[in-house]
C-alpha cells in the first residue's frame, strides 16, 4: 500500500428525527454542509461523491442537486449497510489517488412521507406478483419484521436465547438515548416494558423494533496529508470489508443465526490489523434487537450462541465489555431507513472525544457495523484515532 492513508476529516448529522418541511434532498444538503464545515473544507474542495437511495442513478441525481460535478462517485446499495461500504470504497479511492475529498451523504424523510406502513413492510396484498426470486417469500404475508422474527425464533431455539435477553438491547439503547437531546425517545424503559409491549411478529415486540424517523448524515473522507492542516483530529479508516448471504428471501439464507458479519468482521479486522479485543466502542446496526445479538456474535465479540447473555449482562452499556450505540441507536434515537451513516458519525465523534455524557474514556478504536436488507448484507468499518 502506498503512503496515502484515508481519514475521515468531518462528520455531521442533519436535524432529526422529524422533518416535515424538508425534502429528502434537502436533508442531504444540510448534513453535507455541516460535515464540510466540520472538516474545514469548502464545496469546491469536493471531487468525489457517494450516497445511495432507492432509485437508479441516485448518487448522480443528488450530486446534480448539490451542484457537484464529481470525478469519483459511488452508489453501491447494501441497504442499511451501504454507508460503511461507501466509506470503505472512498478510502480505497483516496489511497489509490483517484480522489482527494469524497463527500458521503445520506438523507431520508421516511417518517414524514410514509408514516407507519414502511415499518412492518407489509408488502403485497392482492393482485399479481411479478416473477423473480422475491415472490417466493412474498406470497405468504411475511413482513419485514417477520423476516427478523424468523431469525430471532431460530436463535432462541438453537441457543436458548430469551425474549428478555433480546429486550435488554432495547433497554440499553434507551439508556444511551437519554443523553442524546435529539433522540426520538428518551424516557427510560425496562425489560418488562419491552416484553409487555405489543407483539408485532412473534417473538418480536413493538419495542424490539427500531423507530421510524426522518434524518440523515454526512462524512468527508480525504487523505491524512490533506487533513493535516484541517481543524479536526483525523480519524483513520483502518480497514473495511463487506459481504452478503442472500437478497430479500430469508428462505435463501442457509443459516438464519449467522449473518454476513461473520465474513465482513474477520476480514475488516484482519485488514485493520486488530482483533475484536482491541475495539473500545462499537456502533452496531440495530434495526431490531436480534440484529445486535447476531452481530456481536458474528463479529467475534462473543461466541456464537452467547450473544443473549452478552447483551443481558450489560455488555453493550457504558462501562460494559463493548459500549455500543452511544447515541441511542436506531431503537431509540433515529432510524430513517438506512441508518449506516449514523454509525460512522457517532464512531468518529467517540474517537474525537466528543461523545459527551456517553463518551467512552480514551476510545482509540471504534467499529461501525451495518446490516442491510433482510439480514442480507454486512459491512464492517474499523476506525482509529491513530495512524496504523
Amino acid at each position: 500500500m502506498s503512503g496515502r492513508r484515508a481519514v475521515i476529516a468531518g462528520v455531521a448529522t442533519s436535524d432529526y428525527p422529524n422533518l416535515p418541511g424538508m425534502s429528502e434532498h434537502a436533508v442531504h444538503a444540510q448534513a453535507a454542509s455541516r460535515a464540510l464545515a466540520d472538516a474545514g473544507l469548502d464545496w469546491s474542495d469536493v471531487d468525489g461523491f457517494a450516497t445511495t437511495g432507492f432509485f437508479p442513478m441516485y448518487a448522480v441525481g443528488v450530486a446534480e442537486y448539490l451542484g457537484l460535478r464529481p470525478t469519483y462517485f459511488d452508489e453501491t446499495n447494501a441497504g442499511g449497510a451501504s454507508f460503511e461500504v461507501l466509506v470503505e470504497h472512498a478510502a480505497y479511492a483516496i489511497e489509490r489517488g483517484a480522489a482527494e475529498v469524497v463527500l458521503v451523504t445520506y438523507g431520508s424523510v421516511q417518517l414524514s412521507q410514509m408514516g407507519r406502513t414502511l415499518g412492518t413492510g407489509g408488502g403485497g396484498g392482492g393482485g399479481r406478483m411479478a416473477p423473480g426470486p422475491a415472490v417466493y417469500d412474498a406470497l405468504w404475508g411475511n413482513t419485514l419484521v417477520g423476516s427478523y422474527a424468523l431469525a430471532a425464533r431460530r436463535h432462541m431455539h438453537e441457543f436458548g436465547t430469551t425474549t428478555e435477553q433480546l429486550a435488554s438491547v432495547a433497554v440499553t439503547m434507551r439508556d444511551h438515548a437519554a443523553h442524546n437531546p435529539q433522540a426520538q425517545y428518551r424516557e427510560p424503559i425496562t425489560v418488562e416494558d419491552v416484553v409487555s409491549s405489543r407483539l408485532v411478529a412473534d417473538p418480536l415486540h413493538k419495542l424490539d423494533c427500531c423507530v421510524i424517523s426522518d434524518g440523515g448524515g454526512a462524512c468527508v473522507v480525504t487523505s491524512a496529508e490533506r487533513a493535516a492542516d484541517l481543524p479536526r483530529p483525523p480519524v483513520y479508516v483502518l480497514g473495511g470489508a463487506h459481504a452478503t448471504t442472500h437478497h430479500m428471501n430469508v428462505s435463501a439464507d442457509p443459516d438464519l443465526t449467522v449473518t454476513a458479519a461473520a465474513m465482513s468482521g474477520p476480514l475488516a479486522f484482519a485488514r485493520a490489523g486488530i482483533t475484536p479485543a482491541d475495539v473500545d466502542v462499537a456502533q452496531i446496526y440495530d434495526s431490531f434487537t436480534i440484529t445486535v445479538v447476531l452481530s456481536v456474535e458474528d463479529l467475534g465479540f462473543c461466541a456464537k450462541g452467547e450473544g443473549g447473555a452478552f447483551v443481558a449482562d450489560g455488555g453493550l452499556g457504558l462501562g460494559g465489555r463493548l459500549p455500543t450505540n452511544t447515541d441511542g441507536g436506531g431503537l431509540s434515537a433515529c432510524h430513517p431507513g438506512m441508518r449506516g451513516m449514523f454509525l460512522i458519525v457517532e464512531a468518529v465523534r467517540q474517537l474525537r472525544g466528543e461523545g459527551g455524557a456517553t463518551q467512552v474514556p480514551d476510545a482509540r478504536i471504534a467499529v461501525a457495523h451495518g446490516t442491510g436488507g433482510m439480514l442480507s448484507t454486512g459491512a464492517t468499518l474499523v476506525l482509529g484515532r491513530e495512524a496504523p
Partner: protein, 159 residues
C-alpha cells in the same frame, strides 16, 4: 410589448389528458406565481445566482435562503426539438409540437423547458425571440409556454 411577469393571454394548446405536474414545498412558490400568470425564477438571497427547477439549496453557494424574482416574460430559444411521435394517445392530434429550452430574459442563464406554440414548428430556430403565454390547465394550475415574439398576438400581450 409584454407586461412584467409575462402577458400572453391564456389559451389551450395541449389536451386535457396531459398528466399534470405536482408541486411540493420546494416548488410551490414557482407554481403559485404561474397561477397568477407571473413568470418567476428562484434567486439565491446570498449570492444572487438563479436556478431552475426550484429547490431549497443554491448549487453555487449552498445557501438555503432564496426569493422569487419576477421576469419580464421575454426570452430566447436556447435549443429545441420537434416531437413527432405521440407518447400519449391523446397527443395524436397535437404532434408535431416543439419542446424548447428557453432562456428567459433576466433569469441569469437559468433555462425553462417548455413549448414554443402559435407557430409552425418548422419556423422555430435557436436564438428565436419568444415571450411567455399562459395556459390555464385548471383552477389550480397554469403552465407557461412560449410563442414567437413580435409575430402573433402582440395585441394580446398588452391586454
Amino acid at each position: 410589448m409584454t407586461t412584467p411577469g409575462g402577458g400572453g393571454q391564456s389559451g389551450r394548446w395541449f389536451p386535457d389528458e396531459m398528466p399534470l405536474p405536482a408541486a411540493n414545498a420546494e416548488t410551490a412558490g414557482w407554481w403559485e406565481a404561474c397561477l397568477s400568470h407571473r413568470l418567476v425564477v428562484q434567486r439565491c438571497r446570498s449570492c444572487g445566482a438563479t436556478r431552475h427547477p426550484p429547490g431549497p439549496l443554491c448549487p453555487d453557494c449552498r445557501c438555503l435562503e432564496s426569493e422569487w424574482a419576477t421576469l419580464p416574460g421575454t426570452g430566447t430559444v436556447y435549443s429545441y426539438t420537434v416531437v413527432r411521435q405521440a407518447f400519449l394517445p391523446s397527443l395524436a392530434d397535437t404532434v408535431p409540437y416543439v419542446v424548447a429550452a428557453v432562456e428567459p430574459d433576466g433569469a441569469g442563464g437559468a433555462r425553462f423547458v417548455s413549448n414554443v406554440v402559435e407557430c409552425d414548428p418548422e419556423e422555430v430556430c435557436v436564438g428565436m425571440p419568444v415571450e411567455v403565454v399562459w395556459e390555464d390547465m385548471g383552477p389550480e394550475l397554469a403552465v407557461p409556454r412560449f410563442r414567437p415574439r413580435g409575430t402573433a398576438g402582440d395585441e394580446g400581450a398588452t391586454a
